[in-house]
């Protein structure tokens, strides 16, 4: 990316307090989202991807503690006052959820939803301009103008999701964060919505952070991908590169265990994702990693850049100077107890 990133996440930490201890949901994550690019954030449940998405927008519950930086232009969203942050949400930073009814008020017509949104964030628009922008955005989503005055319940699930996306996009935000936007939708509708999201850059110039557990979606729709495991980014880089030659063992195993039309044999990763209150020492994936070395169990891996611009958090890629003697020998792992299987 030659231009400046839209959002720059630096060393972000999101910790939750629970009676059992502190849950380290997001633990030192750095990420850049470039202008008009589609970045996929992928991982299994509990890896912290949703928390990261919300953390960027400052939408975390009270019991969460936030540390680090989220740079939007010159401003740091972490240090911003809640009021200033609220003003950014909408016109600059948009968010769409999995369940499309959450932002739609069942008692308001679609027309009213758009009017409210536009009036709130862009006062000074005439009624005619409001209508024109709304209909145009809705039209791009395939919602006909004849249905502008209907209520949310008169639309199907897929159409409601499109309306939600339109509501987020009508303000022309620089960044849209979509958290599992298609998980509850049918296959064909999902593909239709993905096409809309993948085309955001052409039609709206908006960058998209697509959070999902579905690797297929990421491979098809995203320019770059970040794979998350236990609150950290295991690997990040160009989507094509990551999927054709995964660097991190977790990425590789995850791809192998994904069932697709080409699957001839079932693979799975032994064990279960770690407890985020007491994560394993050293690399968090080492108890389940087929390539684990001795150093992986004692020292935290250091993020390494690869030639093609990727980043990976894994001792297999060095730096060799830091690994102590004998650290590269294969790790003797305890067999994972059957009871610890997911």
């Amino acid at each position: 990316m030659s231009s400046e990133p839209v959002v720059s996440v630096r060393d972000l930490r999101v910790y939750y307090g629970t009676p059992r201890g502190t849950v380290r949901a997001v633990d030192r994550v750095s990420l850049d989202i470039g202008e008009s690019e589609v970045l996929g954030l992928v991982g299994e449940s509990g890896c912290g991807k949703s928390t990261l998405g919300r953390g960027i927008l400052g939408l975390l519950p009270e019991s969460a503690a936030l540390d680090g930086q989220v740079l939007y232009g010159e401003r740091d969203l972490v240090a911003m006052s809640p009021r200033d942050l609220r003003r950014l949400r909408g016109p600059d930073l948009g968010l769409i959820f999995q369940e499309p009814m959450t932002r739609l008020n069942p008692l308001m017509r679609i027309e009213d939803h758009f009017r409210e949104t536009l009036e709130q964030h862009e006062s000074g628009l005439t009624d005619h301009e409001i209508r024109k922008r709304s209909l145009e955005t809705l039209g791009r989503m395939g919602i006909p103008p004849t249905r502008f005055r209907q209520y949310p319940h008169e639309f199907s699930g897929g159409m409601r999701q499109r309306i939600m996306i339109a509501l987020a996009l009508v303000l022309r935000p620089k960044l849209l964060i979509a958290d599992e936007p298609t998980t509850s939708l049918d296959v064909i509708v999902e593909a239709q919505i993905l096409r809309i999201l993948a085309d955001l850059r052409e039609n709206f110039g908006t960058a998209l952070l697509l959070i999902t557990h579905n690797l297929g979606i990421v491979a098809e729709a995203c320019d770059r991908v970040a794979v998350m495991y236990a609150g950290q980014i295991a690997e990040e880089g160009d989507a094509r590169a990551v999927f054709s030659a995964p660097a991190h063992p977790y990425t590789r195993e995850l791809l192998r265990s994904t069932i697709s039309l080409d699957t001839t044999e079932l693979h799975s990763i032994p064990g279960a994702p770690p407890d985020l209150v007491e994560p394993p020492r050293g690399c968090r994936f080492h108890p389940r990693c087929p390539n684990a070395m001795a150093v992986c169990a004692s020292q935290d891996p250091i993020e390494q850049p690869l030639e093609d611009g990727r980043r990976v958090l894994c001792w297999l890629y060095g730096p060799a100077e830091v690994i102590p003697a004998g650290g590269e020998s294969p790790l003797e792992r305890e067999a994972i107890a059957v009871a610890d299987e997911a």
């Binding site: 307090g17 009676p19 969460a64």
Partner: protein, 325 residues
Amino acid sequence: MAVPAQVERVPARGSRLVGVRRAFKPIGEARGMARAMLWVGAGITLGFVLIALLAPLIAPYDFDTFRADGERFPQLEAPSRDHLMGTNVQSTDVLSRIIWGTQTELKVVLISLFFSIAIGVPLGLLAGYFGGKLDRVLVLIMDALFVFPFLLLAIVIAFLLSDRVGRGVFTAAIAITVVYVPLYFRVVRNHTISIREEPFVEAARALGAKPFTIIRKYVFFNVVQNVPPLATLNAADAILTLAALGFLGYGIQPTEGAEWGYDIQRAVSDAASGIWWTGLFPGLAIVLLVTGLTLLGEGLNETINPVLRKRPHVKVDLGTHGELS
């Protein structure tokens, strides 16, 4: 498949109780407002229960004692050393009547609570689970009872029963029972209907379980959580109803026991003459007990009701997790 050598023995009965205990575990986790309400309410209620239980020991006199050592007590005497809360127009000791009255109130309320729950909850379960005609008929009856002004209903029932059974603790209890059965019925029925649609209930049907088994094992435990908050709030209301009945003259017979509402009614004429102790103390007793029960009920509601329950909030100190080892 190897048969495991040793399988731990845990008595089945124990595990059922553990289930019930788990349902009420959130009480221990209560914080803030909810916790304060719970403990204050429980404290007050417990205080009254103790008074009722220990009445024979702590009441200076019996509820209708109007003389001692051959001498009649003074009439309408202000609070003094002999009579800490004074005496009323019949020369009975107010304090004693308050203490014995506690017993009466709690007796009636407990009996009526028991019957209300014993009738309302099973009917609610059946109506909710089976639906259909049974449900429609029961809902019709219960709604009709519900809609009736409760005091009027209690009076009518007390009136009708007093002819046959005589006025007493039992009659008052039945009158209150009838008023509150629809409440339990409705709450239990509604919750049953929503539980009925849950996948695990459908799974039980798919296993071949009979409807009564399903109700007993799958529905009941999930629904019973609602009962304690409801019962305590119900008890608070029942006290007021009983006092109202007593005030209007339809409560228990004065010869059967002391009753606060009745006392207040007698005290109405005293007020004009500036005699405050005959009315104030019974009134305070009612207010205090009802408040205690209400606080307890609301506290339970806040803690057990999963919608209202707040997760315990634990602070995080990022500093201690600074550098990773």
